[in-house]
């Protein structure tokens, strides 16, 4: 085994770290620097547009994830529940409200600025609407609602595109102009979108590298790092373009060398199981969760969570020639905005294209958007592919709902089931350690 990733960090990883901490630093000094701040969501994130107004982008979901990774969210959630928020609702919301109640100290220990605009990109999740109504009540700031219709019939209609474009023109852009004091310049948007598209090409190449055997990446546990820049405050920046170029070069090297993914314990020794995973990960025990996979040689070759901020692997690219239409199409196309039959079709496609041994669903208590219907998804995929599926339950950032022993047991019996389906004996590693 090579030394752990904690010791040798890839250039891309260092680059991303620097980008994230740089953005937090900018947020911390936003008031002093006279920069305006927009808060918005990952699905339907309009970063290229926000950048046109010299505004900073603060994503509450990302703060909740970062706080979850730092094990701070348990206390925040309890604080929100103490203040009357139901134990039944999404823990991202409560982690955010709890953090605000305790002084709005961001994941890196510095105070976060109050947003000047809540950009309520209402895409693929009902909770978003209530979350920002709750934040609006607190911050009393301007709120722009962008209603993105759901793809109930599994398609994007002209009516949907024109509805979203009109809202961008008549609701979102005027509010961004008013709050920032900067006039909208569509050419600036085009430039940002062109950079996005370049990054998207490299990003898709990285995701698709997992079709190789062994896969040079883990498309779930590693994938959540790879989506970082493109899903958050960096899409459309030169930094993001550079990050994906670096990442692609690194993965290309691993691929050429026949190496598997890098894990927190170093290079993965052998690829024994290739899985598709549906659903977000748990963040409070992220490392432990990941370990349960790589210890047994399980690699995630494709995941749906890495599509919540856009399905670039299905061909979508931000298009500088049709800037507003392209933003609309982007928002409409995010994973959780697709109907259940389309989600099943996508997973089936991944199962085949990535030669997966099975589908694992990590069902998240918080998230009805993902979770409602997942048991049918599992049945459908098992029926269509003949491959075994497994179902585990946890939560995003609420440590009370991560039960390591149960999950480990479930995973181990699942791996055994895959072995049995393969024809009795023990599985053969895809490659020697």
């Amino acid at each position: 085994m090579t030394p752990p990733a904690a010791v040798i960090k890839d250039t891309s990883m260092l680059k991303q770290k620097e980008m994230i901490s740089g953005n937090y630093r900018k947020l911390e000094t936003a008031v002093a620097d006279g920069r305006k701040v927009a808060a918005t969501f990952v699905p339907g994130n309009l970063n290229e547009l926000i950048m046109c107004f010299d505004m900073l982008n603060n994503l509450p979901e990302i703060n909740a994830i970062q706080n979850g990774l730092r094990k701070k969210t348990g206390a925040y959630i309890m604080e929100a529940e103490k203040r009357g928020h139901s134990e039944d609702v999404c823990t991202y919301v409560k982690a955010d409200l709890g953090m605000i109640a305790k002084g709005n100290i961001g994941p890196d220990g510095q105070k976060l600025p109050d947003p000047d605009l809540l950009l309520l990109s209402y895409t693929g999740c009902f909770t978003f609407m209530k979350w920002f109504e709750l934040l609006r009540e607190h911050y009393k700031c301007e709120t722009a609602m962008l209603h993105v219709p759901y793809q109930g019939d599994g398609r994007i209609s002209k009516n949907m595109i024109s509805y979203v474009v009109k809202q961008l023109r008549e609701e979102v852009i005027p509010k961004l102009e008013r709050v920032s004091g900067v006039k909208f310049d569509i050419d600036r948007l085009r430039e940002n979108l062109a950079r996005s598209a370049r990054a998207e090409e490299d990003f898709v190449w990285v995701l698709e590298s997992a079709k190789a055997r062994p896969s040079p990446i883990d498309a779930y546990f590693g994938g959540v790092y790879y989506i970082g820049p493109i899903f958050t405050a960096f899409r459309g920046t030169e930094d993001a373009t550079l990050y994906y170029r670096l990442l692609r070069a690194e993965i290309a090297e691993r691929l050429a060398a026949g190496q598997g993914p890098v894990t927190p314990a170093g290079d993965m020794p052998a690829e024994r199981y290739r899985l598709v995973v549906e659903g977000p990960p748990n963040w409070t025990s992220f490392r432990d969760f990941w370990k349960m996979f790589y210890e047994d040689g399980a690699v995630v070759v494709a995941s749906t969570y890495t599509k919540v901020g856009g399905l670039y692997d299905q061909g979508f690219r931000h298009d500088p020639d049709h800037p507003l239409e392209s933003l609309a199409e982007y928002c409409l196309g995010c994973y959780t905005n697709r109907n259940l039959p389309s989600r099943v079709d996508l997973i089936e496609q991944y199962m085949e294209e990535y030669q997966a041994d099975g589908l694992l669903i990590n069902s998240i208590k918080s998230c009805n958007s993902f979770s409602a219907g997942q048991l049918l998804v599992l049945r459908e995929i098992e029926r269509r592919t003949g491959k075994p599926g497994a179902f585990i339950e946890s939560d995003l950032v609420d440590p009370r709902y991560f039960s390591p022993a149960n999950i480990k047991n479930r995973l181990e019996s699942y791996f055994q089931m895959i072995d049995q389906r393969r024809g009795g004996g023990k599985s053969v590693p895809a490659r020697a350690a």
Binding site: D88, S162, S369
Partner: protein, 396 residues
């Protein structure tokens, strides 16, 4: 005052009919209605709102599907849902897989939450022969933006219904249907106003069953029933109790067990307003009969419809004031937040509404339920204590 025996029987008869409709999870009325005339269709819909006028204009019967309630034993439906998801989708699936909805030609799933949204896709997979449609409504309320989008949505629905019924859905037919639903909504409002004036004459369980009947009956028949009830209930002599007056909110999708509604009243609270079935009071005054009927339905949605959690409130200053207005209009003394467990719309909204009530010095309590909750004792105790405390507060 003595009461003519026949009138009491009339109320009893009406409510017995409603109870029978409520208990009938085979939807015999709708089956018979469909079988009576060839070419008729039945279109199921879930909470909170669909434009029933379009279904009616297509020669269809809109059938409210509100889960299986406490009577239905859910066996297969549980296999489709994790324990942390509310009850209504699993009992609705149970109704589907046990063929209780096998006569339904199309199902509509309104944009109330992600559970119903995803159920629309599940229905497509599980019942491929049924036309299933996720019914989206705008969250942008300007005519040229949300209005235009919504008119398109309504037009697509109109086309789907025409295909299902095999007949054109004409403007004239839609206008005629709007007129019938205007009349029905006016009568529903009248029943609510009557109960708010004299709640002892219109017990909440009765009003509830009466409104539930409107989910399954043809609109003409339901309007007749409402009229009969108003006459009969006004004539009936019923003892007036020293109950507190409360508004119940948060129960707009998965329905509380009937026993829960009875328990609230038995514990000393008259329910003077509620949001159990928003669809029958969604438009707050008559939808216009002049001009383009689809545009009129859209107008009514944008500018003249009820408020609920599934609808965005663009003006922060207005947030939750509809509940304060309901309290004032009905002279209620408190609010009961009764929400289904795991219900995102009800539970995420609740703290915001509670803060608005607190700012207006309106007392409230909150509890959760499931459609199949059996234990009413804790709810009775909580509601009883609330009723007592309201009386204490209001004593000078």
């Amino acid at each position: 005052m003595s009461t003519p025996v026949t009138e009491i029987i009339t109320v009893t008869e009406i409510i017995a009919r409603c109870q029978a409709l409520f208990d009938d999870l085979n939807f015999t009325y709708a089956r018979e209605w469909k079988a009576a005339v060839p070419g008729r269709i039945v279109v199921g819909y879930m909470p909170f709102y669909v434009p029933r006028e379009l279904i009616h204009a297509a020669g269809g019967l809109p059938l409210g599907v509100l889960g299986g309630g406490e009577q239905l034993e859910v066996i297969q439906g549980d296999a489709y849902y994790q324990s942390y998801i509310c009850r209504i989708p699993r009992s609705t699936i149970e109704l589907g897989v046990t063929n209780r909805l096998d006569f339904v030609d199309a199902m509509l799933f309104p944009s109330i939450c992600d559970v119903i949204r995803n159920l629309s896709g599940m229905w497509k997979i599980m019942f491929p022969k049924v036309r299933s449609r996720y019914f989206d409504v705008p969250q942008n309320f300007s005519d040229g933006v949300g209005g235009t989008f919504y008119i398109h949505e309504l037009t697509e629905l109109r086309e789907m219904l025409a295909e299902a019924s095999g007949r054109a859905v004409t403007d004239a037919a839609i206008r005629a249907s709007i007129a019938l639903y205007n009349e029905n909504r006016a009568l529903v409002r009248e029943v609510y106003a009557f109960r708010a004036r004299q709640p002892w004459k219109a017990p909440s369980a009765e009003v509830y069953l009466l409104m539930r009947a409107g989910m399954v009956l043809a609109v003409e028949e339901h309007s007749r029933m409402l009229r009969e009830y108003l006459d009969a209930a006004a004539a009936a002599d019923r003892p007036r109790r020293d109950n507190s007056r409360v508004v119940v909110t948060g129960a707009f999708c998965e329905q509380p067990p009937l026993n829960l509604i009875k328990s609230i009243e038995l514990s000393g609270c008259y329910i003077v307003d509620d949001d159990f079935m928003l669809v029958n009071r969604w438009e707050q005054s008559d939808v216009s009969l002049d001009g383009d009927p689809v545009a009129n339905l859209a107008q009514a949605y944008l500018h003249n419809s009820a408020n609920t959690s599934a609808k965005y409130e663009p003006d922060p200053a207005q947030k939750g004031l509809y509940l304060v207005a309901a309290v004032k209009r009905t002279r209620a003394e408190g609010v009961i937040f009764a929400s289904p467990s795991f219900c995102d719309p009800a539970l995420l909204e609740r703290p915001m509404l509670q803060r608005v009530l607190a700012a207006h010095d309106i007392p409230f309590i909150a509890f959760k339920y499931a459609e199949n909750s059996g234990q009413m004792q804790p709810i009775r105790e909580q509601a009883g204590t609330f009723a007592d405390s309201i009386k204490l507060w209001s004593t000078p």
